[in-house]
Symmetry: C2
């Protein structure tokens, strides 16, 4: 325990009683990182149940200069939940109420601990759904904080395009609303987008109003094999350039398909594969399917195969969602080093191809999976950390992948965020812009209370 925070802990214990824990296992659970990044434990965990809880917590911590690290469900990948300076992990998973469905406005207001699966389950009888789907059953607060996206972003945008308004507790314990529920606004600085992706470093999100979408009349899922990741990516680029509004276009390389087959008991062809989903009216989907098939075949792809039932479709996406764990099962006992390159679509094929060649030449085992419709893909390096040579090769490859994306006009992180894992690349990517970010941080959180040491 960080003894400098002991007075703060005592005050929190008094205010929060059973919602406060200093137990070792709770502290460990609240900084598990799912990746190679080493855990750094908070001094205590507070389980918030209300906005008032969060405001009180912030005021107490502010008075004692004690750091606060927000926690949703713990599915982040870049060490966002670690507490390098100790302090309090504030667990928001208990703030899981859906406050109001604005059916006629295609919107919903909810607390940050609601998970995306819980939201869609709640909406099941409304004809509406929330499309952003990062794979993990993340909390919506966490998704907003890391600017998450996932498999549906091609058609529906990322979380950035789907938040109407936030309520946020600021560093002085005030509650602010970032904007109205109107669909657009030109009134003042865009606080909503400033908070999205700020990874808990500017404020704590306590309420979220999200856009919803009508469930499409028809949903058709399918798969399409190619002889190389290059040709698969070239086909994807053409789909985007022609403006085909596919909902999902996911690339899996042959190794990733093999991992999914083993983990999820499937029989997908073990070659470069696109998983697809088409949304729209019956005629619109038929048009999209026809155009996609033509494009795929023009790039040497095989004829797409379509799921015959909702069950088959769900099985396909379940396998895609489990890709992370499927990959890890390829080398039990090894650590996962993730990459998150995102480049302009015209550079995608080149970037994925070079990355695959680079990983092979480095002798690393690293399945590739990607939201390629957005130019975004992940290589998951499975690394035996007991082998210093392999670890060094892996770190060098991760660094090259981030730099390659930036050099191609892209970003080192399309959706996972910066956290601790990608901090080294911010200067390279943003140059003098980092100075502006630091100025904003100092202005809104002068005592560096919120999630210090991240982003």
């Amino acid at each position: 325990m960080n003894t400098t925070h002991s007075a703060c802990l005592a005050a929190l214990q008094q205010r929060f009683g059973e919602q406060f824990s200093q137990g070792q296992s709770q502290r460990e659970q609240h900084c598990h990182t799912t990746t190679w990044i080493k855990p750094q434990l908070p001094d205590a965990v507070v389980f918030a149940r209300s906005t008032e809880d969060v405001q009180d917590l912030v005021k107490i911590c502010a008075a004692h200069q004690c750091p606060i690290v927000p926690f949703g469900v713990g599915s982040s990948l870049e060490g966002q939940l670690n507490a390098p300076y100790g302090g309090i992990s504030v667990d928001l998973s208990g703030m899981d109420q859906i406050l109001e469905v604005h059916q006629a406005d295609l919107a919903v207001t909810l607390q940050p601990g609601v998970t995306r699966e819980a939201l869609n389950h709640y909406l099941r009888d409304t004809g509406l759904f929330f499309p952003i789907d990062p794979g993990a059953n993340a909390s919506l607060g966490g998704m907003v904080a890391t600017r998450a996206s996932g498999t549906n972003a091609v058609r529906y945008g990322t979380i950035r395009e789907n938040v109407l308004s936030l309520k946020v507790v600021t560093a002085d314990g005030q509650l602010i609303r970032t904007s109205s529920r109107a669909k657009k606004s030109a009134a003042g600085y865009d606080l909503t987008h400033l908070m999205i992706g700020s990874e808990g470093t500017l404020g704590i999100i306590t309420e979220i109003t999200l856009k919803l979408h009508g469930i499409p009349e028809q949903i058709t899922a399918g798969q399409c094999t190619f002889d190389s990741v290059t040709s698969a990516c070239q086909a994807v680029a053409q789909v985007i350039q022609l403006g085909l509004p596919l909902a999902r276009m996911e690339l899996l390389d042959a190794l990733q398909v093999k991992a999914c087959n083993q983990y999820s008991g499937l029989n997908l062809p073990e070659m470069p594969l696109l998983l697809l989903e088409f949304h729209g009216s019956g005629t619109a989907v038929a048009e999209q399917v026809e155009m996609f098939s033509q494009i795929a075949m023009d790039h040497g792809g095989n004829a797409p195969v379509f799921a015959k039932s909702t069950e088959e479709r769900n099985q396909l996406w379940k396998a895609r969602h489990d890709a992370y764990w499927a990959s890890r099962a390829l080398r039990p006992g090894c650590q996962a080093h993730t990459t998150d390159a995102c480049v302009p679509i015209s550079r995608l094929a080149e970037c994925v191809t070079q990355t695959q060649e680079d990983l092979e030449a480095s002798g690393l085992i690293a399945p590739i999976v990607g939201h390629v419709g957005d130019g975004n893909f992940h290589a998951l390096l499975l690394v035996d950390e007991q082998n210093p040579d392999e670890l060094a090769r892996a770190k060098a490859a991760v660094s090259r992948i981030a730099k390659r994306a930036i050099e191609m006009g892209g970003t080192c992180t399309g959706e996972h965020g910066v956290g601790q894992g990608k901090r080294d690349y911010l200067d390279l990517e943003h140059g003098a812009g980092v100075g502006l970010m630091q100025a904003i941080k100092r202005a809104l959180d002068p005592n560096n209370l919120f999630n210090p040491g991240k982003l």
Copy 2:
């Protein structure tokens, strides 16, 4: 002339030579406000031709604590260009180069002085277009700075959803890039969205990378009459709720139609009217037209009438774009007081109806026109400012309209920005959020150099 800035003016004269002007007519032209807001002249105008010009200007002005007001084409409506503390108007209209069309990425990089019409003219052979269309032939820098939208936002989003990256000169004269060209990113604070809508108060935009869209296979425009604005708005709300991706849905009340007929020599039926545009493949447009027609008739609308040629379609939208000047021609010599309410779509019919009743009861002449698909509409109050009683009634009505929108969960400004005209409503709309905005302003522009007295 503000004598405290004389040393600055001398330094600028020396650096900029013929690009510098203290002439009365130039100073007047650079703060004309198109509305009731009284002009406040800058001390001088600098015509920037390059990013280096802007950086040098900022450094000289910063050294002398002299305000800078960015100028595009002068089409803003809320006094954004006024210079209440004197200083320099920096005219960016000469920075009008299109730097690169990223054809395969559906994007373009350009300077801020390019107008939206010039951009689309340049793109005419590429199969791509830029959809955001605020009516006026605004500069793209100005559109980004005010977070503009316009008639196509229903389908394509506002400028907020269509900027990939900006280059911005900051208060210390540094040039920063807000993000990469990748379609999505989770790397650091969202400086792009912070700059969009900041109305020249945080930095000067010197380069813009925009998303482009493929020109749809089919474009069909039409019009549909209703017996009241209420039923027209109810039909619009249902279109949105069903997720029909119409490109344009514009409301004109009977008085606005009359104004357009007179000004543009048309014969539109002088009753509440929706102007419509459908984009997509042939079959998609046919589907949309059929569904729209059914919805319109369910709400007592008449069967839509469609434009028979591209010329007829262009004539219709030209008339819509000229609606502002058409309205002003209804009462020559009077001033225009604009409103810009934007509410959740479920409250639109109620808000427009109450506004129309309010204006009638106040004895004011005020055509209504609106981007109703976004819940956004304008009443243009035509006011004889020599009549103090009428002026007082107009100001009271404008205030009620702004407050009504905020009370209905909306905003006082959907797209025109805050400028000087809407500053009074920011506290009401944002509450404690205004404190955050002020902190950001102080952090990024500590000497209040950029467009002081706005937003």
